[in-house]
Every structure is written in C-alpha cells, then in structure tokens.
Symmetry: C2
Subunit: 472 residues, 2 copies
C-alpha cells in the first residue's frame, strides 16, 4: 500500500513536471511518459528482443544549455530523477529509465561551436555525433581520435559519460586522453567547467577526469572541448593469419617486442571469423584460424612494416600487406561487429580486459566455460589494450521462450569475469557498469573504495537526482 | 594565550608521537623536530636563501607499506598532521612542513618491485627515482616517458603527487597518462588500490586520475604501477633559430600544421639563451635570437625532418639537423635550466600554460610587464604544450636585504598569471599549487568547483590530517 501510494505520487510528480515544462517552454520538444517512449527505457545493450508494451519515461530535448539548467531546476522542484541520454547506443544500460523519470536527451544540443586549427581543438555540444565531428575537422587535416565501434551513431557526450574506447585508443588513448574540458550542469542546475583549454594544467583536483566515465551520475555534460590530432602522414593495413585461435592470441606479444606502435591492433578468433563469413559472404576463415588485424600510421611505414612483419612471422603468423581497398573492407567487417545476432540463439556480449600478456590465457579458458555451462564462447577484441568482447551464445531449444535467456549465459559470463579478475583484469574495460553490471563493481573494487566513490557522488549530487541506480 | 596553549599542546603531541614511534619501532629511522630538520620545512621552490634557524618538523622514513600504515594510525591518535614528502624537489611548497607536523618521507620506500616486459609496465614503490627506473628498464628496450627536468632527483611518488610533466609529455602525455594504478594509504591508515593493471578500465569513478596531481591531500601514494613504452626506433635533434623572441614564438604554430609529432618541442627566448651562454661558456645567442629545440623520434626520421624543416623554414626559421653529440649537448643545456640563479638579482620563477596559439601573445606581453614593474622577464617553455616557465628578476639595490625580495616580482607574476588566464590559460601547468600558489586557485576555479573539491578532500580525509594548507 505504501509502495503503491509512493508510485502514485511519483507518477503525479512526473505529470506535473511535464505540464509545467510544456507551459513554461512552449517551444520545447517533450514527450510525456507513454508506450510511445518505451524505447527510452533501454539502451542498445539492454533493449529486450520483444518490444515493451509498458510505459516509457518522459523525454525532453533541450536545445540550449540554459534550457538544460531550467529543466534540471524544475525537475528538482518535483523531485523527479533525471536520466541523461545521448544516442542510447550504450551497452550497459547507463541510460535506462523508468516511467516516473525524466530522460534528458542531448540530441538537439548538437552544435559544433568552434574548430581551432592552431590549437588542434574543437568545442562541441554533447549531442554531436562522433563521426560528424570527424567529417567536419577532416578538411583541416585533423581527426578526433576516440573511435568506438559505434562512432557513426554515438554522441560525444555519451562517449564522455562512458570514457569510450575504440580501435585507435591503443595508440591515441581513450576518450579521457582527448578531452580538455567539460561544461557540466550540476544536479541543482548550476553550470561549472572542469578542466581547461590548455593541454596541461594542475590547478586543483582533476575533476575533468573524474567526470569522464562517470556515466551521468555527477552532472550532465553539455559541452566538451576536445583535442584533435593531425591526420597521420600515411596509413597501412596489415593482416596476420594464424592456424588457430590460441596461436594467434600467443602471437600478439611479438608486437610489443618491437618499437612499432600500431594505431590499431585487433584480434578476431576462429569462431568469429566464421560468423562474419556467414553474415557477409566473405571467406576469411579460409585464410586462417584467427586474425590479428593491424593498422600502421605515421612516417616510415615500410620500416614499420618490416620490423612488425619480422616479429610476427617468427611468432608463426602469415603476414599480409593489404591494399588500401582490401584493408578498408577488412576494417568495415571488423567495425560492423561479429556478423550480427543469430535469431536461433540466446546471446550475451561482455567487455573485459586483462593485462596484455594474459590474452592467451583468457582464450584458453573458453573451452572450460563451454563445457561447464554448455554454451559457446568466442571473442574479438582490442588486443593491443588487452580488451576483449566475449560473446556467449546458446541455441534456443524448440519450445523455449526466446525472450527468457538460459541462466547459463549469465553464469558463464560471471565465471569469465571472475577469471579475468584473477589474471589482474577488470570487470568492464570500455562499456561501463550502467545498470547491467552495477552489481559486479564490488568484485573489483574494495568496499572502502566504493564508499569513497559514493561520498564523491554525494559531493556533486547530494540528493541523488542524477541517473540513480547506475554505475556505483 | 589560547593560541600559545594550542601551540604548546601541538608541540607536546609531536613529541609524544615521536617517543611512541621510537619505542614501538626501534629500527625505524626518525628525526625529532629540531634545527637539524629545518630543510624539511621547505621544498626546492620555497627554500629561503638564508638557512633557517628555526626548528623543522619531525621526519620519519618508513621502509614498508605496513610501517606507513602504523605511522599514520599513531599520528591520528595524537592528532598530528602528516606531510608526505618524496625528494623535496617540488617547486610550489607542496611538501612544506611546520615543527608540529610529521613529515613522512618515502625515500626508503625505494624498491622496484616488478618489471613486466610483455605488459610494458613496472611496479615501483613511491620513493624510486624517476631516472633510476629508466636505467633499470632501458636494457629491456623500454622507457618511462614522464621526464620532468628534475628527473634525476625526483621520485615517482612526487611525480604522481604533482602530475609532473616534462619535455616529452608533448608526445607521451603527463604522469597521468603513464600511471595504471596506485596503492594509497588513507588518513586512517587503510590501504586501497585505485586504477587497475590493465590499460583500459571503467569500473567505477576514476579515483586514480583524481589522486594523480592531488599533492598528497587525499592519501599517501606508496606504490605505483606505471606504464612503460618501447624505446623509439631512432631519435634526432633539430634546432631552429629565429632572429628574435617573437618571431620564434610565432613560428611554433608551423609545427602543428604538419603531421609530424615531435617528442619534444622546447622554446628558449633570447634573454635565456644569453643567460645560458654566460653560465656555460656557450655561444648560443650568436646562432639566433630565439631557439625552438626539437626532438623527433620513431620511424621515418628523414621524412619527418623534411616536412618539419619545410614548414619551419617557411615560417622564417633557420633549421639545423644536429649531430647526436651536438644534440645531446643542447638537451643537457636545456635540462640544466637557464644558467643558474644570479646572486645579484632577486628572482621568481613561474609555471603557466596558454593555448598553444597564444604563445606569442604571452611573450609579447613581457615588455609591458617589464615597464610596469621595473623587472626583467624571460621564459623558456615546453612550447608544444603551451607551457612556459617565466623568470622574473630584478637587480638587488646596494644596501637592500637579499632575503626580502622586492614586492614588484610577486605583483608582476600575478599580473602575468591573470593575463594568461585571460587568454584561456592556467595558473599552474605542471608544478602544482602547493602552499605557494594555493591562494591563486580561485583565480581559475569557480567557488562551486572549489566547494566540490573540498568535499572530495573530506570524502578521503574527513579530519584533514594529510598535508593541510596545500593545493585547494
């Protein structure tokens, strides 16, 4: 009864808030809670296979920073929780919302405010799409380095919220290494700047790094000053084929014994190559049992290739210098994932990292998992970072409900995460905890560390108004 | 009277604490407060010209992490404040201490615990000297990138506390970009780990980045897992000479119009060249009125040199490819500073950064400062980062007390900092706020930002036991 009246009052609150916003800001795009907004209850990683028939949250699309501030202040008056959302391409439920909450979408905060070629920086609003920024700076000979696989559909604000990685971060760093400063609207509507426009700065505590990857629980990122880099003098794709998955995983360490720093080092195991072939009509699996896919960039590509090729050949790899067109095709196959979901299977994708030297051990553990949980496990990964994305699948038996996955998938994933931790690894490498992995944080972080993190959350947002139930 | 009894009780507390530590840990190296420890009242940047005759703080040199924890717990019982100290080479008074405080020196926490070549990382205790780590990893073909000018005398723990920069950070990032994880003893003696051994990780808030650069106010860094990098395939020194300071400062922007990413880009103005000549017997000033000193590294050095040389020649520079020996000599001159202090002058050195494109504007402001405050201003800087170290000097008039600098120096420095801020710059780029620049934080940070930073400090150290009066 108490819970019901609480729910009732929360429903009232969101309705009153929406009414006030509609009245106060007649031009504001806003959607009340309804079945029509149910897609805003999830992000890409948590969307159910069957479209939800329950009500989604209220959603508002501010077009300016002062509007964001006003919305936050109004929500505070009605005690409505705010869920910041970029493009919803997250994979851990960081933007998931309930019908009594207000989703604040940054989609219409999408101006590129400034491009400064001499300072190699851009000032962008949070809703700017990663690849759009890249298209805009490319004529100036510059690029924005963080390139999550979602780069054509994900926003800079979302990338900042998750400290997004990507393929090229093995050389250029993750999102944190490309953000100079952030404008942040706090839970009470105040706007602060963290970080600075300069490349260096140590005035006070590093709030900028703290906000990056904080999944919207500390404030709403509305604007970012990001670092750009010169487009390299040249790029070259190299494919290295191994007889099987384990020999490829072992071969990776040969790269770090050279002074070559590739801009991308991806690893694709045998089963994933087969999946890509099945989906794309390619014949990758015929070329080898696993693939290290490398991009070299910068100066002296021939010398870089020579040193790398020597090392990888000695490690048992068959090294191929790809043409520009063939290389582009391979990157397209890699970026588009692992061949798409198989409707006959339940699947669960994960995001772990281990120290690079343990990469082979992780792959060697897959057969154990497969036997123990009667699942199939494959993985592709940002091998240069020790980051891999395992895919755990199981055939859906005849008559089973496709929307209720076998618990073996979750159990196998938990087992794998614990094994990664035992190797010095991490629960999540680049996707974030969100709502989906939040309960796993304590596997990696001590209770004291979590206690400090929660105290920091309260230093920013004492009433827990922003993105409750996410991250820590 | 109240203040006196308070002082008395503080003196009693430190004496009781020292007695307890001596009794409990007979093998512990410890010095009670006395004139003998007066050098521990200061760091390199705040040491007075005339040796202090007042009592310094108590100093303790633990040799293990559990000892650090026991010392912190004992100090808490006597309510004695702890001042963490590396090698005392800081320039902002971050390690300054008073006679009622306990300096916790990390000098004997100096083990290199692990070097892992495959993972390109090392685990070191806080007291390990930066250059010693480099000597130890060099035979493995690796180097530790952060290279503050103090690298032969500063400790990794101190580098972490200040997020130290250096020459090569223009390419390899500052200390933050080379630290994977830290072991931190908190104000109540508990030990936590922040960060992870992997290159990527987003489990929870980024406490690791928050601790880096926090100047010992959040906890005592006792151990660090640091990232190593392969020694580049080759290195080459290039000197670029300009007719005068302003043409050189303007010429810098030519570099960022090329795809070349030098590993070092230093700028030395005319007056500094003359100072170096006077101190070292060199004839640099005859070669030009200002110098951009560049290190190229990696592959394709000839192509890198060609592109860079084209761009800088067009910008009016006279470009010289130095021999290995001549190059090393130039770096040695640069690293050893600006020719040493002149005993006939008061001097004040600063540490500001501006967006790179504003580098010329900063130098163009020096004559205004010189006229306004009747001082001399010169600067050398990590130009690639927009970071410069101005030196403000004034001749000591006959009969004046050399230990009491003319207030014009401080006034000129404050003026310069405000000008840098007006260009989008920062109060301190790599030296930190410490005790010397703490009062300047509010020039750059909003009161709300400072409020959050202080709340974070209390989340770590609720009773303000660690390094009080520093940073924020």
């Amino acid at each position: 009864m108490a819970a019901n009246s609480n729910l009732k009052s929360k429903t009232d609150s969101i309705e009153l808030l929406v009414t006030e916003l509609v009245t106060e800001f007649p031009e504001l795009k806003i959607a009340p809670p309804s079945v029509d907004t149910s897609e805003y209850s999830y992000d890409t990683g948590t969307t159910p296979k069957i479209k939800s028939q329950t009500s989604g949250p209220a959603v508002v699309w501010p077009t300016s920073v002062p509007q964001v501030q006003e919305i936050i202040r109004a929500a505070a008056r009605y005690d409505v929780k705010i869920i910041p959302r970029g493009e919803g391409s997250g994979l851990s439920g960081g933007a998931a919302a309930t019908s009594d909450q207000l989703v604040l979408s940054t989609q219409l905060l999408n101006s590129i405010v400034e491009i400064n070629v001499d300072d190699e920086l851009a000032v962008v609003e949070a809703g700017v799409i990663n690849s759009e920024l890249n298209e805009r700076v490319q004529p100036h000979g510059l690029f924005y380095a963080p390139d999550p696989a979602s780069w054509t559909i994900s926003s800079i604000g979302g990338n900042v919220a998750t400290n997004a990685g990507g393929l090229r971060c093995v050389k250029y760093g993750v999102t944190r290494e490309s953000v100079l400063s952030l404008d942040l609207v706090l839970a009470d509507g105040e706007l602060i700047t963290v970080g600075q426009r300069t490349l260096k700065g140590v005035t006070g505590l590093d709030l900028r790094s703290l906000v990056i990857g904080s999944e919207g629980i500390l404030g709403i990122v509305v604007r970012a000053t990001v670092r750009l880099r010169p487009i390299p003098a040249a790029r070259k794709t190299v494919s290295v084929w191994f007889p099987d998955t384990l020999s490829g995983a072992a071969g990776l360490s040969a790269i770090s014994r050279t002074p070559v720093r590739p801009s991308i080092i991806e690893f694709i195991d045998g089963p994933t190559l087969s999946n890509i072939d099945a989906a794309s009509g390619t014949q990758l699996r015929e070329r080898g049992g696993s693939l290290i896919l490398i991009e070299l960039d910068g100066y002296g590509l021939n010398e870089q290739f020579r040193d790398l090729s020597d090392a990888l050949s000695k490690a048992g790899g068959s090294v191929v210098e790809e043409t520009a067109i063939a290389g582009e095709a391979l990157w397209e196959l890699r970026r588009s994932g692992r061949g798409g979901p198989d409707p006959r299977k339940w699947s669960l994708s994960s995001d772990i990292a281990v120290p690079r030297s343990k990469f082979k051990e992780i792959y060697a553990y897959f057969p154990t998992l497969e036997q123990k949980y009667r699942v199939e496990v494959s993985a592709l990964g940002h091998a240069g970072d020790g980051n891999l994305h395992p895919l755990i699948t199981k055939e859906i038996p005849v008559g089973a409900d496709p929307s209720i996955p076998d618990p073996a998938l979750t159990a196998a994933n938990l087992d794998l995460i614990k094994f990664a931790l035992s190797l010095g690894g991490t629960v999540t490498a680049e996707h974030g905890l969100g709502s989906a992995k939040r309960h796993l944080a304590e596997l990696e972080l001590s209770s004291r560390s979590l206690e400090i993190q929660r105290a920091i959350k309260l230093a920013f947002d004492p009433l827990s108004r922003l993105n409750p139930g996410k991250a820590i």
